[in-house]
Structures are given as structure tokens and as C-alpha cells.
């Protein structure tokens, strides 16, 4: 009997977390919508600002996906900001000085990112040197190498093709353009896919005898998500269409969501973080998996590095300073556990959006950088306290 009550509490707690996060996100958006209009007489949810939000935050979300795996495996990567800067500098050097075409630069830089991840992951996984130390060293090393490679200068400008990585938009193949029909079509299809998937997984849960929330709750949640996405899609379509980077990001979110939920390798990474010894004694090659999570992190950091470089239209020595903190904060706000073994892609995306929207909203409001940092810090602390409190309560 007591265990039945426990299950109920666990189920509610799990839902509470995810639904609570989304509600918090909604509340924050609403807050800025009202306050920004009152204070500055600006529409927070204007098409331009929504577009900006994605352009500004895509790289945080992309790196947070990699960071999620690293943290789930029980590690941390402090070097991502420096690695993004360094790979951006490499992209700049190859493009501007060596004159490489975009289709050669992108894969080359991704490989550089993989190699950097491998170099760090090697010491962490096979030599068991704490990831905090190795990546702290990496943070310094790659910041230094960025300065060296750029000789302290900015490199730019970049050709249009490279810039479109970040500032390009999907053109309307139907030629209407305002609103962008292609964009609308993609958004509607994406919503349909999302709802279909969550219906399917709910059916599956019911078939497995798992306790699911009421169907009213389920539809309310799905409707809210659909309406929100439709709204965002409409706004984007009526401005310049879907940014390329939004497409890249969405595809990555879907891919990592699938990877963490549905694949053997994904499952094994959670096992390593959950109990490394038990995982090893179950025949899982724990070292190799940890190594691979860092390789993956390196690749995503280099992708983020190129996106940032494309957005600024210049490779600069100062790029990516402090990124690691935003990325790590997003993962923890998203509900990952410091000790590894838990954390979800959805949570990370919502966590990153919360951070990004707060950055953006507070900047529009003219809140000073000093207060911004204080507030962001407190939000991180609160989110984690909320988690720990929940976890203790369900015992």
C-alpha cells in the first residue's frame, strides 16, 4: 500500500517537474510581455524579437545537448566556451585567410572539435583524471590558442554562404513570402509530429501499465504547446521565415531526444552516470562511453563556435567567454543531477530558453548587467533547490 502511494507521488513529482518548468517558462514570457510593454512600450513577442531570441540562444541550446550527455555520464565540461572560440577562430582562418569554401570549412572544423573533445576525453575516461581539472585546463589552453591563432585581432568579414549558417533564413518555396508559407507548413508538420509522438508514448505507457496523468491534463498540455509553437511559427513566418539555425537546432533536439530515449548507447550513458560500478559489472564499456560523450561535446562546441562566428561575422578572441556557465546552468535548470544519471533533453531545452529569455528580456528592459547576473544566479539556485526539495520529499 505504502509503495502504491509512493508510485503515485513519484509520478506526480515527475510530471510536476516537467510541467512546472514549462509553466515557469510561460510565466517568465508573460512577465516580460507585460513589463516590457509597460516600461519601454515595446512588444516583447514581436516577430523580430522572437527571431532574435533564437539567433541569440541557438548555440547555448546546441552546446547544452552535448553538456547534458557529459553531465548525465557524471562529468562536467568547463572548456566549451574556449573551444567554441578556438574553433570559430579556425573557421575564420580557413575561410578568410586560406580562402576555403564553406562546404570544406564546416566539416573540417567539426573534425577539429571532435579531436579537441577526444584529447580531453582521453585523460578523463582512460586516466581517470577529474573532468573538472582536465576541462579547466582546456578552458585556459584553448582560450590561449584562440588568442595566438587570431594574434589578438578579429578576423572577418565572412562570405555570405558562411554567414547564412546563422543569419540565413529558409526561403519560401511557394513564393508568397509574407507570410512565409514554407515556414508555416514546417511548423504545422512539426506540431503534428510532436502531438503524434506524445500520443504514441502515452498509449505505450498505458499499455505498460504505467500511471499516466489524466487525459484532460495531457490534452491541455499538448494544446498549450501547439498553440505556443503555432504562435511562434506565425510570427517568424510573417517576418523573415525560419532561421537556418533554428532548423539545425530543432533537428539536433529531435536527434538527441531520440538518442537519449530510444537507443542502447543512450541508455548506457545514463547507466554509467547512475552507477558506474554496476554498469561496468554489467558488461558496459564505461570508459569508452565517457570518452565518446566528450568527443560529442567537442563536435557540438565547434558547431556552436561556427554559428557564433557567423552571427558576429567575425572570429574574435573574446567569443564564447562565459558560455560554459550559461550552458551548464541550462542543463541544471533543466533538471539534470550533479551526480549524473538523470536529465532530459526537453528539460535542457526549456532550461536554456528560460536563461535566454531572461537575458533578452532584461536587456530590453535596460536592467544592468550587474542585476542580470544576480537574478540569473538566483534562478539557477532556486531551480536546483526545487529539485532537491522534491527529491527529498518523495524519499
Amino acid at each position: 500500500m505504502t509503495s502504491a502511494i509512493n508510485t503515485l507521488r513519484v509520478q506526480l513529482g515527475g510530471n510536476l517537474r516537467e510541467n512546472g518548468m514549462m509553466l515557469a517558462l510561460l510565466a517568465i514570457v508573460f512577465f516580460f510581455l507585460v513589463v516590457v510593454r509597460a516600461v519601454q512600450d515595446v512588444d516583447f513577442l514581436s516577430a523580430q524579437n522572437i527571431t532574435n531570441l533564437f539567433l541569440q540562444n541557438s548555440y547555448v541550446i546546441i552546446m547544452a545537448l552535448g553538456m547534458l550527455l557529459v553531465i548525465v555520464a557524471g562529468h562536467i565540461d568547463l572548456s566549451v566556451g574556449s573551444v567554441a572560440a578556438f574553433t570559430g577562430a579556425v573557421a575564420g582562418t580557413l575561410t578568410v585567410y586560406a580562402g576555403w569554401p564553406v562546404y570544406a570549412v564546416i566539416p573540417t572544423v567539426l573534425v577539429v572539435g571532435a579531436l579537441i573533445g577526444a584529447a580531453q576525453g582521453y585523460w578523463i575516461a582512460f586516466w581517470r583524471i577529474p573532468s573538472f581539472i582536465v576541462t579547466l585546463a582546456g578552458m585556459l589552453v584553448f582560450r590561449g590558442l584562440t588568442l595566438w591563432l587570431l594574434a589578438g585581432q578579429n578576423i572577418g568579414p565572412f562570405p555570405r554562404a558562411f554567414q547564412s549558417l546563422s543569419t540565413g533564413f529558409i526561403p519560401d518555396i511557394f513564393g508568397v513570402d509574407r507570410p512565409n508559407v514554407t515556414a508555416l507548413l514546417i511548423v504545422v508538420l512539426a506540431i503534428a509530429a510532436l502531438v503524434w509522438r506524445s500520443l504514441k508514448s502515452r498509449d505505450q505507457d498505458i499499455a505498460f501499465g504505467m500511471e499516466v496523468g489524466s487525459s484532460a491534463m495531457f490534452w491541455l498540455r499538448n494544446c498549450l504547446i501547439a498553440v505556443a509553437l503555432l504562435f511562434v511559427g506565425w510570427k517568424l513566418a510573417s517576418f523573415r521565415g525560419l532561421p537556418n539555425v533554428l532548423i539545425v537546432m530543432s533537428v539536433l533536439i529531435a536527434a538527441y531526444s531520440f538518442f537519449t530515449n530510444q537507443t542502447t548507447t543512450g541508455r548506457r550513458i545514463y547507466a554509467v552516470g547512475g552507477n558506474e560500478k554496476a554498469a561496468r559489472l554489467s558488461g558496459i564499456k564505461t570508459e569508452r562511453l565517457v570518452f565518446l560523450t566528450f568527443v560529442n561535446m567537442g563536435v557540438l562546441a565547434s558547431l556552436a563556435g561556427m554559428i557564433v562566428t557567423a552571427r558576429l561575422n567575425s572570429a574574435t578572441p573574446k567569443a564564447g567567454v562565459g558560455f560554459e556557465l550559461d550552458v551548464i546552468a541550462a542543463v541544471f535548470i533543466g533538471g539534470a543531477s550533479m551526480s549524473g544519471g538523470s536529465g532530459k533533453v526537453v528539460g535542457v531545452v526549456v532550461g536554456a530558453l528560460i536563461m535566454g529569455i531572461m537575458n533578452n528580456g532584461m536587456s530590453i528592459m535596460g536592467v544592468g548587467i550587474d542585476y542580470q547576473q544576480v537574478i540569473k544566479g538566483l534562478v539557477l539556485l532556486l531551480a536546483v533547490i526545487f529539485d532537491v526539495y522534491n527529491k527529498n520529499k518523495r524519499g
Binding site: 537507443t263 542502447t264 552507477n275 554496476a278 554498469a279 559489472l281 554489467s282 558488461g283
Partner: protein
């Protein structure tokens, strides 16, 4: 003679277990008093009650010390009275120096500032007393186990010890270190220090103890004077219980040899010591084979070193399964070869506590629930449901996190995990530890079923009645070696204990 310590009617319960029932212990001033008993007889629990680890009020009974009733609320209280306990796992900080360790928490200091010259001077004096010629500044990690033991004793002396308690002090020591330690105890006795020593080694007890108290199942069985101590008497008192447990009926159908291990040698992971020496055993189809031995006899180390070399350094040895050489060089290869190892500590080594039953069961055979790279959640769920029914795992659903299950049900999840790899040979390490009687019976029944399916079962257990009740053959291990093999009809607790105690004697006499 006057009693320094008298413990009367001590009882102590943990959830589901009665660790101490009615223990009486009387220790005279100036004597060395030995305490004997099987694993789980309650020796360590009793010493924890005495030293205040279990505070007054959490146990029943009374403690009189120096004629006064005592109510310790923690170790500090007992230490203030001069009662110092030295645990089997030494409580030294490896990176600190001898002097720092000796005065840890008890620094030679005025208002927080340490007087190093005085501390070193006192350390020197203490080290002289225990016969250790090392500089006070030497880090403890540079010392061998024997010398570390002496540092512990010096630390006790620094606290003005009146009653020194040693928990199996020679278990990890080489012969000459053991002798030195025993000599030191006799010398301390001459200086008026009373000692309680927990030991299994009869020759040791005969050499230094004035009296021996034997515990069994949490009760005092007897207290013998040195003159009355004999091997037979102590063994009888230690294991004399009747076979109260019941085991499910089984008619063994034993086939040909399934797994055989020969000349297995394993070294300590990072010390030059050898932990497993020339060990060998075999198990036939349909057979349940037991491995008996005291704690630290190398049973778990043997099993883990076989299972993908998960323990220590592999030195030499070969294993065959079904007559063919088995590649056990990694865990995944060992699983492939048909071996499964159910770990002793299911929470630390067996389960991912925060994950549900489903993913714990599929963990060692994920490809069994996946198509290529993609997990089939439906299949995973079905598998878990099957094992839930087959092994009668009591849970509201297979999506329950295993942290919420009872010990017995957790153990069934671990068993399910390994059964799902379809092993030929299962090594079960203490499969019923910490499990209530009903669940034990169920685990036994599962083991019998597995044997009846033609698998080979190797059962490691510290509970001898369990081995005698379940096994067709029992191997006895001591100090990393297999020292005997007893078929079911020849095996008895007395014979197993006798083998172990005599083996200790033989070793010692060889060395002496």
C-alpha cells in the same frame, strides 16, 4: 579479581534483524579477553555498543565500567573513559604524518596553535613504547599494514587507554608482524592495560588470552578460562545451533562438468601482494556448489577476478566452460561465454537505484530488447513483466524505481538481470544477505530451479547453515587458497571451521 567492564543483558535490533539478543560480558582488570564467534554472531555490534557508536538508549541492557554505570552517547564519551577501539579497517588518514595521526582531534595545542616540537617529542616516546622506529613526520601511507596497526595502538596510548579493543587485528598481517603485535599486547598488559581482542585464530587466543567468550547468534554461549580452551570446545560453541532454517526440497540431477577453473592466481590491484593463490574449482550441470570461508578469505576476490577480471591483477590460470577454454578477459566477454556474477553488494555494485525495474533488468543484455541500435521499450517491458511473474517480484509495477523495493525484491531484480543474459554458470555472492526469511526461501527455490534447468550454480556465503542446506559440494577457502572440498554428506559446520582454523595453525607453525 575485580571487573573492569561488565555488560549485562545487552540487546540490539536493526530493522528486521535482531543482532544482539542477550549478551553478557565480564572483563577483569588487567586481563586480555578474547571474543570468538562466526560472521554475524554479533561481535562487532557488541563492540559498537560498548564504544558508544550505538548510543545509550538505542540498545537494551546495562554497561558497568570501573563499577559505575555508563551511558555513552558517542565515541568521544567512551574515549574519555579510556575505552579505545581499533577497527579492522584502520582509521588513519593516509596522507598525514604519524604524529598528525596520533594527535588527530586531540592536538598538542594551545588555543588552536599546534606545538610541533612537543608533539614530535611525545610521538617519539609513544612510538618507542610500541616498538616502532619511524620518524614522526613519515606519512602513514608509506607504512605497511603492520606498522599502521602499531600507529593505531600508539594513538590509543596517547589517549590514555585503559581498555583497548582490537577487532581482528592480525587478519591482514604477515606472520612476523602478527607476532610482534601479540608481544606488544602482552607488554601493555604488564603495564596494566586491559584488552579485548576479537579473533578467529585459535593459536593466537591460546597464546595471549586469559579468558575467551564465545558468541553465537547474538547471545553469549560461554566464557572459558585459558585452561579450558580447546579447539573442539570453541568450535562446538561457535556453531552449535540446530539447523533452524528450512530449504526447499530438491533432487539434484547432476550432469557433466560445466565450468572448471585451474591454477587461478590473482595479485592485488596496486600492491605486490598476491590475493588468490592457485585456486581451482569446478561445477557440473545441475549442481549447486558452495564456497565457504571467513570474511577476507578471498571468495569475492576469486569470483570477481573470474568475471571479466573485475578484481586485481590477473596473473595466471585457466577456465573452461563446457570443455572449451573460456575467454573471461572482459565483463562482456565473460557474459558471452555464459558466466554471470551476482554481486555481494547489490546496492553499490548490482543496481542503478534511481532507475526503474525495467532498465535494471535489461542492463546486461540491452541488445536483447533492441533492434540494432534502437531500444524496443515494448520488448523491455515484456521481459520485465515476465521476470516479475517468474520470480515473484513484489511491486506495484515494473516501472517502479528499484530504490523503493525491499532487499529481497531488489535481489530478485538483480537475479532477473543476470537470468536475462541466459548464463550457463551463475556465481551468487551472498545471495541472501540482508534479506528476510521468507524472501530467502524464495531465492533458494529460484536457485534450485536454475540448477534443475541444467545450469551450474556457485554460491558464496558466510552463513554456513545455508551452504550446508543448499549445496551439493562445498569448497573451503582461506587466505586466498582453496583449502578443502567437502561433498554434501561429509560437510558439517565443525569440519568447515576445523579446516579453516587448522589451516591458520599450519601456516603459523610453518612460519614460526
Amino acid at each position: 579479581m575485580t571487573a573492569l567492564l561488565e555488560m549485562r543483558g545487552i540487546g540490539k535490533s536493526f530493522p528486521g534483524v535482531r543482532a544482539l539478543n542477550r549478551v553478557d560480558l565480564r572483563v577483569e582488570k588487567g586481563e586480555i579477553h578474547a571474543i570468538c564467534g562466526e560472521n554475524g554472531a554479533g561481535k562487532s555490534t557488541l563492540m559498537k555498543v560498548l564504544s558508544g557508536v550505538y548510543s545509550h538508549g538505542s540498545y537494551e541492557g546495562e554497561i558497568f565500567y570501573d563499577g559505575r554505570p555508563m551511558a555513552f552517547r558517542g565515541i568521544r564519551d567512551s574515549e574519555a573513559e579510556g575505552i579505545i577501539i581499533i577497527h579492522q579497517e584502520l582509521a588513519l588518514v593516509p596522507l598525514l604524518s604519524i604524529a598528525e595521526n596520533i594527535f588527530l582531534g586531540n592536538e598538542v595545542a594551545t588555543r588552536g596553535v599546534i606545538n610541533w616540537p612537543l608533539a614530535f617529542q611525545r610521538t617519539d616516546a609513544l612510538l618507542k613504547k610500541v616498538g616502532l622506529s619511524e620518524a614522526p613526520t613519515t606519512p602513514v601511507e608509506k607504512l605497511g599494514v603492520g606498522k599502521q596497526q602499531l600507529v593505531e595502538i600508539a594513538k590509543a596510548l596517547a589517549k590514555d587507554v585503559k581498555l583497548l579493543i582490537l577487532d581482528e587485528p592480525t587478519a591482514a598481517l604477515q606472520e612476523n608482524d602478527s607476532q610482534k603485535l601479540l608481544d606488544l599486547l602482552l607488554e601493555l598488559k604488564a603495564h596494566g592495560v586491559t584488552a579485548i581482542i576479537i579473533s578467529h585464530k585459535l593459536n593466537e587466543i591460546r597464546r595471549i588470552a586469559d579468558r575467551v567468550t564465545v558468541l553465537r547468534d547474538g547471545s553469549t554461549v560461554s566464557t572459558l578460562a585459558r585452561e579450558d580452551v580447546s579447539e573442539e570446545r570453541i568450535i562446538r560453541d561457535m556453531v552449535g545451533r540446530d539447523m533452524a532454517h528450512r530449504y526447499p526440497e530438491r533432487t539434484p540431477q547432476i550432469g557433466k562438468v560445466l565450468m572448471e577453473v585451474k591454477g587461478w592466481n590473482v595479485g592485488h590491484a596496486d600492491q605486490p601482494r598476491q590475493m588468490i593463490r592457485d585456486a581451482g574449482f569446478s561445477v557440473r550441470r545441475g549442481e549447486i556448489v558452495g564456497i565457504a570461508g571467513l570474511m577476507g578469505s578471498g571468495r569475492t576476490e576469486l569470483a570477481m577476478s573470474l568475471f571479466g577480471r573485475s578484481y586485481g591483477r590477473y596473473l595466471s590460470g585457466e577456465a573452461t566452460i563446457d570443455g572449451k577454454p573460456a575467454d573471461l578477459s572482459s565483463v562482456s566477454r565473460a557474459i558471452e561465454a555464459g558466466l554471470a556474477y551476482v554481486t555481494e553488494d547489490r546496492k553499490v555494485l548490482g543496481l542503478i537505484l534511481d532507475e526503474p525495474i525495467t532498465s535494471n533488468i535489461s542492463l546486461a543484455n540491452l541488445s536483447g530488447v533492441a533492434s540494432g541500435w534502437v531500444l524496443g521499450k515494448g520488448r523491455e517491458n515484456k521481459v520485465a513483466e515476465e521476470y516479475r511473474r517468474a520470480l515473484n517480484i513484489r511491486t506495484p509495477g515494473v516501472h517502479q524505481r528499484v530504490i523503493n523495493l525491499s532487499g529481497g525484491n531488489q535481489q530478485k531484480v538483480v537475479l532477473s538481470k543476470w537470468l536475462f543474459t541466459d548464463p550457463q554458470v551463475l556465481i551468487l555472492d551472498e545471495p541472501t544477505r540482508g534479506i528476510d526469511v521468507g524472501a530467502k526461501y524464495e531465492i533458494y527455490a529460484i536457485m534450485n530451479d536454475l540448477a534443475a534447468q541444467g545450469r551450474g550454480i556457485v554460491m558464496i556465503s558466510s552463513e554456513m547453515p545455508e551452504l550446508l542446506g543448499m549445496c551439493d559440494r562445498i569448497y573451503v577457502m582461506n587466505e586466498g587458497r582453496v583449502i578443502g572440498e567437502l561433498p554434501k554428506d561429509e560437510a558439517s559446520q565443525e569440519r568447515i571451521m576445523g579446516l579453516i582454523i587448522r589451516d591458520g595453525n599450519v601456516n603459523r607453525e610453518h612460519a614460526a
